[in-house]
Symmetry: C2
Subunit: 234 residues, 2 copies
Amino acid sequence: MQPVKFYFDFLNQSSRALYILMEASKIPFEAIPISTLKGEHLTGEYRDKVSHFKRLPVIQDDSFLLAESVAIFRHLNREKIVPEHWYPRRNFGRSRVDEFLEWQQRNMGLACSNYFKQKWLLPILGKTSTEETNASLLTERLNQSFKDFENLFLNKNKFVIGDNLSYADLMAICEIDQPKFIGFNPFNHHPKLGQWYEKVRDELGPYYKHVADEFDNKLKTAEKKIPEVMYLQQ
Amino acid sequence: MQPVKFYFDFLNQSSRALYILMEASKIPFEAIPISTLKGEHLTGEYRDKVSHFKRLPVIQDDSFLLAESVAIFRHLNREKIVPEHWYPRRNFGRSRVDEFLEWQQRNMGLACSNYFKQKWLLPILGKTSTEETNASLLTERLNQSFKDFENLFLNKNKFVIGDNLSYADLMAICEIDQPKFIGFNPFNHHPKLGQWYEKVRDELGPYYKHVADEFDNKLKTAEKKIPEVMYLQQ
């Protein structure tokens, strides 16, 4: 069986989640880094032959190209051997993971990636936002989404859908790392979030650490190149 | 087997798509209409016992409550008998449907529901938007998303993922009906969209017609009650 080709960027939360999932599941894959900062996903061969969507991540499984991270997650579950706990059949676990992924895309995920985009990505690219960027509104939305996450998902169980780690936890920690790694403290008013975060990080162990370090490196390298822009943003 | 309890509102695109899917698949269900105009999804028993998410649609399958429409769609496919063409296993059809659903939630679906919210729902409720509402920007985003839909999904096949009708088509037509039924013509600059739309509508036949008529009735009834508001919006 050919290894899956995986087009990704460590700056991107869904890329990190799938990278960790494939490493932890021992799915053979060929990692093909694409630099979103250089705009490599927007032009040339990538746009023409890999993703008309001009998005990351993308996989190529044999000759089958697939975009959209949740679709990729489900594809891997159908076509490869992924340990049961990530997407469990028992007690309608798959339905609960699906429900969380859909909720978070519209809520916490949106708030996290928006914060990252406005506070880090656009300044680094030297661009100004097309939307109204109200710093306190970005923070308010982020805090509200963390509160919703605690109330809706962290009340009863050790992890999001029960006592075992699932893809819901993995996707959530990667989303939360977008604001966290550029200096936002998500645990300030959210102690339950803090406890859950530690448990997930510990459970993911070296798989998480490797990918988180790569993310951190990418942030620091980009900031070094454009220090004056970052200074203005403080 | 108990019929599935289905909490829905015909004003809501995902509610209509799942209603049609269950009718066409002969899945026994008990239809429980919830009026979003009256705010029934935000308070009382619905919020406390049915959906903490305060969202529609929701199903109750035996004692299992599930929100988020794409999660519900997949749950029905796992737990009930849904005809294969809606979510086909062959040729990675399920991955393609998943990819479309995720794309459209962030793109065409967002543009359609935003247009509906700003142009119809908020005025009917006598509310003003918290966001900047720029009428020409709403229209521009809608047209751009229809163009993307044509270019990315309507080039090669009769339907979105191939020669057979799938849930991708059903979700898409229900999304497009949000602006269409309140007076926006989606086919003006999009002939391919028009041809596809007719094929989907014809294929869905009476299942579509029934639900579309209910949607239209709900719109007209609400407008009759608050004619002066609608007049101001013209």
